[in-house]
């Protein structure tokens, strides 16, 4: 039995255009179809539209992976903490002698507290390290020219080293008693 959405007249959906035209010759046992054929559509003529349903296709793995990395960056930077607790972008302290207001980047005193910029920069460092390892793996792929491979390797190694050193530095600034 044909679906009710199939009219023999031109098409509600482009996908069905060919199938409905080819099946127009078969008789239908659908009573509603017959009623519709007589009642409005014997004197009304539906216009010929070229409608096409947008075809949904799955995104490519690379696109999904890029999106995943972006979400990872946001979560690890503590964006939920930023939204709920609403800390300032950067802290400030007043110099006791000159009275000038100096910025404080790292919220000190507790492990579970941050300013927004501090969170974003640390999250960026983690992501950079991850990308460095990815570049190292790409550098070992055989199907690339030698110069590209060596530049990937150099970029990868420097990213990982930089990311690790900076992350350790951030932690030491934030928690003075770290590893002591």
């Amino acid at each position: 039995m044909r679906a009710k959405s199939d009219n023999p007249q031109p098409q509600a959906t482009g996908d069905y255009s060919t199938s409905s035209l080819s099946s127009a010759t078969t008789t239908s046992i659908d009573p509603i179809y017959h009623i519709l054929r007589i009642l409005p559509f014997s004197f009304l003529r539906p216009p010929r539209l070229r409608l096409k349903l947008p075809s949904l296709s799955l995104p490519s793995p690379n696109l999904v992976f890029a999106f995943v990395l972006l979400t990872y960056f946001m979560v690890v930077s503590g964006i939920v903490y930023d939204i709920i607790v609403e800390p300032p972008g950067i802290g400030s302290t007043q110099d006791p002698y000159t009275g000038a207001v100096r910025p404080v980047v790292f919220m000190s005193g507790r492990v579970n507290g941050q300013y927004i910029i501090e969170g974003l920069s640390s999250g960026f460092m983690f992501l950079l390290g991850g990308i460095g390892i990815i570049l190292l793996d790409l550098a070992l792929d055989r199907n690339r020219p030698r110069t590209v491979k060596s530049s990937y390797a150099a970029a990868g190694i420097s990213s990982v080293v930089l990311s690790y050193v900076m992350s350790m530095l951030f932690v030491r600034i934030k928690i003075p008693a770290y590893l002591r």
Binding site: I84, G130, I133, R142
Partner: protein
Amino acid sequence: MAASSKPGSPRPPPSSSSSMAQDLFNNFSFSKTLKLKTKQQELLIRVTVLTLIYILAFITRLFSVLRYESMIHEFDPYFNYRTTLYLTKNGFAEFWNWFDSESWYPLGRIIGGTLYPGLMLTAAALYWVLRFLRFAVHIREVCVLTAPFFASNTTLVAYFFGKEIWDSGAGIVAAALIAICPGYISRSVAGSYDNEGVAIFALLLTFYLFVKAVNTGSLAWALASAFGYFYMVSAWGGYVFIINLVPLYVLVLLVTGRYSLRLYVAYNCMYVVGMLLAMQIRFVGFQHVQSGEHMAAMGVFFLLQVFFFLDWVRHLLSDAKLFEAFLRITVTGAVSVGAIALGVGTASGYISPWTGRFYSLLDPTYAKDHIPIIASVSEHQPTAWSSFMFDFHILLILFPAGLYFCFKRLSDATIFIVMYGLTSMYFAGVMVRLILVATPAVCLISAIAVSATVKNLTRLVRSQSQAVQSGSSKGASTAKSSSKGVIDNSQPFQRNGAILLLLGAFYLLTRYAIHCTWVTSEAYSSPSIVLAARGAHGNRVIFDDYREAYFWLRQNTPPDAKVMSWWDYGYQITAMGNRTVIVDNNTWNNTHIATVGRAMSSYEDEAYEIMRSLDVDYVLVVFGGVTGYSSDDINKFLWMVRIGGGVFPVIKEPDYLVNGEYRVDKGAAPKMLNCLMYKLSYYRFGELTTEYGKPPGFDRARGVEIGNKDIKLEYLEEAFTTQNWIVRIYKVKPPKNRW
């Protein structure tokens, strides 16, 4: 890895440094004298490494047992300990039907129906087994060491899971990473006798068995995963994560076109049998068919039936166009029927909406505005980057790389681990406590990154040395390495670079181990009930005030005395002081807690009315002004006001604040200076000098001199103050019998 690369018997002539090292190894190695084949060598190494990891996971959690003594930590474990004690003394039937009148006076608590019994039954089972083997252990020792034991078992499950997802190398790295990861240690240290210690083992086991069932399509593995799910439901309320992640995973597989009969068998069996088993737990009851949080699983279950049905119809029909038409009708029909059913169920109230605890995970701002009790728990705060760093260290860097490798080799199993990792990381970002749930996923994905990178690098190293001796060795070790033998053998630079990178990876992993051990020792091994601080000369000073106070209660009050305190201390008072409490950590009755909050924030005479109505005999407060202890009741006081004010509008938070600021010194609000909590905390404190050079009555926790030093109590009298003034107990005087 070096041992498995060369074949055992024919030795290649020593022509390069790596094979000389190989000969050296062979000369000293045990395996050469035993003439083990390569496969057996590899098995020996693997078993040895796993045994060492098992032992390591256990001993790294023993810091507090070695420093203090074998005791139960924190608050919640005391309730678990008390119920386990009751179970071992009175048997399962009594335990399952237990109504406890010693907490939540005068309401009582149906313990059998409001707890997750998995942990208690596990500890009791271990205790009975040890007793059967004639080891006369005390149940407390079994309780203290249950969590490290299950952490060791988790490392084994992680090994098998890693083997399933990637290969055995990744499995071993995953076991090693999870053995010392601070995110897991924080809740499974010895003494932390809490549901999570057992639940993470059950979680990983269920996931492993399910992925194995999807990979093999075997009914036996699917049934095993259903029983694993049952164990998880009996152990922890976080089972909701499993019952939502698994359907989401099935949905993703359907969308990406990976539907197969294996998936059908695995999910059906796990869902149906798992749901029926889960209903055996009274606390869960019929939630699997009635609660909104479980509806996703049911929806996917029906969707899977529709998929199977369509697959069967397509197999029967030979006409493609007819099938397309049929497909459209069926899918539309099924989706609309499902939507209507869901709508009718929700509207009629049969399907209850998402509870506040879990809804606040989807919408993190919800708890802050609507449910102050959930927002007040410190573990429920959102996570800052430094908490992530503390709990994961270099795993945060390895995680994106591991995701990349998973995306490179997409299969049913890697899709699962990617989804588990992403969803659990999001929830870990919302709540600090849930870093625990993310830890296995992060360890597994990082292990994939480590294993794949190390494999790449060693391939480089080995291919160089293979290429140099390509003419002399008889038979390549594997086809893979011989085909890659001809990379750039003209560049020793590349091989040295690879060795250098291997050393770098080794250095990073060493730093990870150092970090984990330091964090475990300094941050996560504190019993919380015993406080430690550094004295003036650097020596360690121990404050055992809590246990002193509870022991005093046990010895010096009548057995039917009722104690009123803030809900944090309820479990400890009932377990150690053996007295009835008004409210405890279960926090199931918000109005009762609000009544206590109202009593604490009112003036003494109003509070006395409330206390008489609740039959209170003793009041217990925690005060940190002498020691500088910052988690005391004065710092928690605003939460008492908010929770009390949420139910009784007479309590208004601005009454206790001055210009929005919370103060206890001279400039504090008058209602603050005269409320019951203030009086009980600072009674006689005005006469005490706490710090050299500061006036008497200087509060070391707030850093100010208190405003109201001359406190007189009319309806209460001081009964006991501990040595460092941390816990103070007051007796409620009976009403005067003369007008």
